[in-house]
Amino acid sequence: MADQLWLWAIPALPLAGSLIAGLLYLLGIERRAAPAHGAHDAHGQHSAHGDSAAHAAAHAAGHAAAHAAGHAPSHDDHHDHASTPNKGSAKLAALVACGVMAGALALAIKGFFALRALPEGSERVLESTPWHWIAVTGFQVDISMVLDPLSSALCLVICGVGFLIHVYSTGYMKGDPGYAKFFAYLNLFVFAMLMLVLSSSLLGLFIGWEGVGLCSYLLIGFWYAKGWPAEAAQKAFVMNRIGDASFLVGSFMLVKLFGTLDLSDIVNSIGAMVRSGEHTTELMVAALLLFGGCCGKSAQFPLFTWLPDAMAGPTPVSALIHAATMVTAGIYLVVRLNPLFAASEIVLFVIGVVGALTALIGASTALVQRDIKKVLAYSTVSQLGYMFLALGSGAFAAAIFHLITHAFFKGLLFLGAGSVIHGMHHEQDMHKMGGLRKQMPRTFLTFLCGAGALSGLPLLSGFFSKDEILAHTFASGGAYRVLWAVGLLTAAITAFYTWRMVALTFFGEGRYDKKHVHPQESPAAMTVPLMVLAVLSVVGGALGLPVVFGVAHALNTWLEPVIAPGRDLILARHGGEAHHLSHAVEWALLGLGSAIALFFAHRGFHAYKAGIERDEGLARKRPGMFGFLGEAWGIDNAYTQRIVQPIKLIAFVTYVVIDQFVIDGAVNGTAALARTTGGGLRVLTDGRVRTYGIWIGGGAALVVFFWIWS
């Protein structure tokens, strides 16, 4: 395994791009700096002698700029493209950002072919020179970039979809005052995501893990001036942190068990540990703790509530971070450490249950949303649940398959929604859309492809990946059959809400204010990425055609070296027998899936083709249920009431009662005691010199007498 230094270039390119774009942003902003000398308005004497005229001028200019700035916050949402043209530096930043993405994509492709060039069956791994990050006696963290089939696949997705979204953003963000900043963040995100998938060490992975969280924070809060995006960003970060805390404890357990955080070392030594029968509980706890981290990052029950709020960010961000890449980090982690999770049946089942439950909650909530991005957000939660369902049933390759197809079609749907929102002057409420297929034909057609894939219409990419998951779950038997039924129900709901969304957005009468809103097709920078993604959404299923089709499952074969350890553990537990479904059953499942998808897609489309009456009727007839579903089963409110409020109360009590009253009370009480004693003794010191003299003299006499006496 030769040193492949160039692997470092894959994450380094976006990082460099981010730094350059950030620098360009800093150069581009109109700053009103305080006078360099002395303190500011508090004491004018500094500026008074010397540059008072200049100071006054600066102040006046400050006023003018302040007015401009005062408008800006309310402005950037409905920005007028013509009135705020991007500066040259901002355009350059966008160019740099897209350029480094193209470079990273090229390197990812190079890496893919370099891996393919290695003989099949051997360990297909490329590793770079390590970076000795942390080293203390007894504990060392070396990080190198490792390209193996799994990370290569994800690299391609990240760089590919990432590149498309960068291009799309050049159109979508046009005219925004933070144009260059946006690209700096976006590039930084790609850097962190690549660190996450390429890192050889769990702690290196954690750099990326928290790094993507940070970028998510920054990008959700990109339009911070509106207030709620900043709150959503904060919520996302904190909920991720809850998961990360669990992740950290898991990593401590792994260090304790294996003495290292190197991922491949851990994977290689789990098998022996499981066979020896030692540390079974510790392994299980470590796996569950890491899964806790995944719940935060991948928005699984009970930590999923940040993701819908995260839609406050710009739409390309939702597409890239909150659909295609970051939220799938949890799936990546589980597959990366698959033997750890596969070592315990309980862990797998917990993952499966959480996945299925999340899928159901997400899908059912998406049913009644009015905001197009919220529909897609809950849909993402639900689809991520599917992926965890796959992991829970031991179908690691299927999870990655769905991850990839989902990246295509959900990225496409988000970008399409973004195109709609862009064309509708930042209207997101589907009740105020309708009939847009005529005005936005390209967006409409590509959106259809994405919707078809999401709802699992036969032969589109989502159909195959979802079907594979359901088939695996079915095949696992036992309690997994219940999970399979939940998955099937979710598939039905998914088809329904997807086509409800399509119908509400593109069909029926236009329900918007036609005098002021003139929907129009988006520029090419936005529609071309849509088309590319549409093609991928349609044909992406070719990566993993079912066995019954008689062709090899390309992705399975490719990922074989990575997923073999975990699969072998599961097989060993079942006495070496894999759950094989007969061809007949497989065909039946495929047929069932197609039928359900088609039927419910039809129902959803027809119910809403005409308009929004059905929503209104439902809200009137079943307000309780409508509200329950609309608020994601009331989980978010429960958190606010049961967790956030009590913590605020505890903090207040800690400060006022314990700190101020008890501890400081004791301190001040001591002081008061001293003061009282002193007050009593002050009679002795009347301020007369003679009195003090008497004290001194008397004391001296006493000392001498004592000396004589002894």
Binding site: A33, A34, H40, A69, V136, G221, Y224, A225, A230, I242
Partner: protein, 516 residues
Amino acid sequence: MDHLTWLTFLPLIGAALVLLTPSSAAQAQRMIALATTLAVAVLGVMIYRDFDSSILGAQQVVSIPWFEIRGGPAIRYTLGIDGISLLMVALTSLLMPIVILSTWGHIDKRVKEFMVWMLVMETGMLGVFLSLDLVLFYFFWEISLIPLYFMVGIWGGERRIYATIKFFLYTLAGSLVMLVAVIAMLYQFNSADIPTLTELAAALPADKQGWLFAGFALAFAIKVPVMPFHTWLADAHTEAPTSGSVVLAGVLLKMGTYGLLRFCIAMFPAAAVQWAPLFMVLGAAGIVYGAFLAMAQNDLKRLVACSSVSHLGYVILGMFALTSAGLQGGVLQMVSHGMSTGMLFLLVGMIYERRHTRALDEFGGIAHSMPLFAIFLVIAVLSSAALPGLNGFVGEYLILKGAFDANQTLAIVGVLGVIFGSVYLLVATRRVLFGPLNKRENRELLDLNAREIATLAPIVLFIVWIGVAPTPFLNKSQGAVDVIVRRCDEARALKLATVTADPADAAANLTTPTRR
């Protein structure tokens, strides 16, 4: 003269120069102080460069007879540097020019006195970290206490007198207890040389170490401050001028943790092993408690002060885990905390100079009028919240990892602090920077000027540097920490041996913590 003596007393020379200037020449006084601290920084960097990590004990030692106590030991002027003090000295000497530069903005009365106190304080702090003689150490320890008293008392905020007296009495109480312990040490062992004392004291049985340990520990615990003794900190920070807060958080508090490490743990390993659970509990409690306090604050500066309590809880938790990772993490966290909290105080000061308020609800949307300020604040907050890749993470991870090996429950409590830490920091950030810019005063805020950028940029450099490549820093202190860990392991083995009376067990215990 040798480097260490120059380093320690150069600030005093600067102070004398400042004293020679006329009172009205404020700018000259500032420049002299800045030049002095810069010279000290250069000297500090030279000493850092010359440091040989392969030597375990003190190096570059200078020792001159000072005076003798009849019937007691000879007191010598002994300075020396080892890996732990090296990092502290580097932190001090690099932070001081920044602090001086920051005073341009908020010290405009009695500049001369302020600069003199600052420089005297630098001598005191450097002396504390460099002394290898117990009496000299105590001398510098008290020297460094006085300047802050005046800084808060003269240049402080509204309740400065209350804060000053509280601060002074608290630390003085601790110092006096320590004095008793110092005197006891001098007569018990008839030596004032710290390395000698370390050897002698470590050989005492656990019960005899206990009282001496307690005497030192109380003084240092107040200085750190460990949880129940923390109330002076918030008041002192709130009332102190910005530069005072930066020095207090950046360096002075580290004297407490440094003392705990150098005296309590290294000198009395048996007592440390015995009392470690208590201190770990206090550390973990401090983490969560400080975080809750910070959540309840509306005053931005007080919030940062409370976060200090939380962060120093990590240091205590890690150090008293008595493992290599925990101790190394603790040492690095001392440096990191100096950087990140120092930077937060600087930023709070900058915005206070502009708005003359620190109440969180007075702000909002400032990122729009002060974009550069926003960037720096976010960096400082992320560093404080221990984002991987920035300095705070390395220390915190090592601390928690070390603590996890020693006590899983407390480590998990410490991890909870990671969550709470992000809550109060992000909430404060949001309330200051984000949201609508709906106050007129905030709209007219001016962004950072070149001088302010110059004060912040070096800190950012180190925040990233330590975060990305901590190993060179860790290597410096590794030798000194290894010695301490070995002592503690021996003490633990001895304790086990006496409890179980089975030497085989003890030997097994001795080998486990050093396993890779």
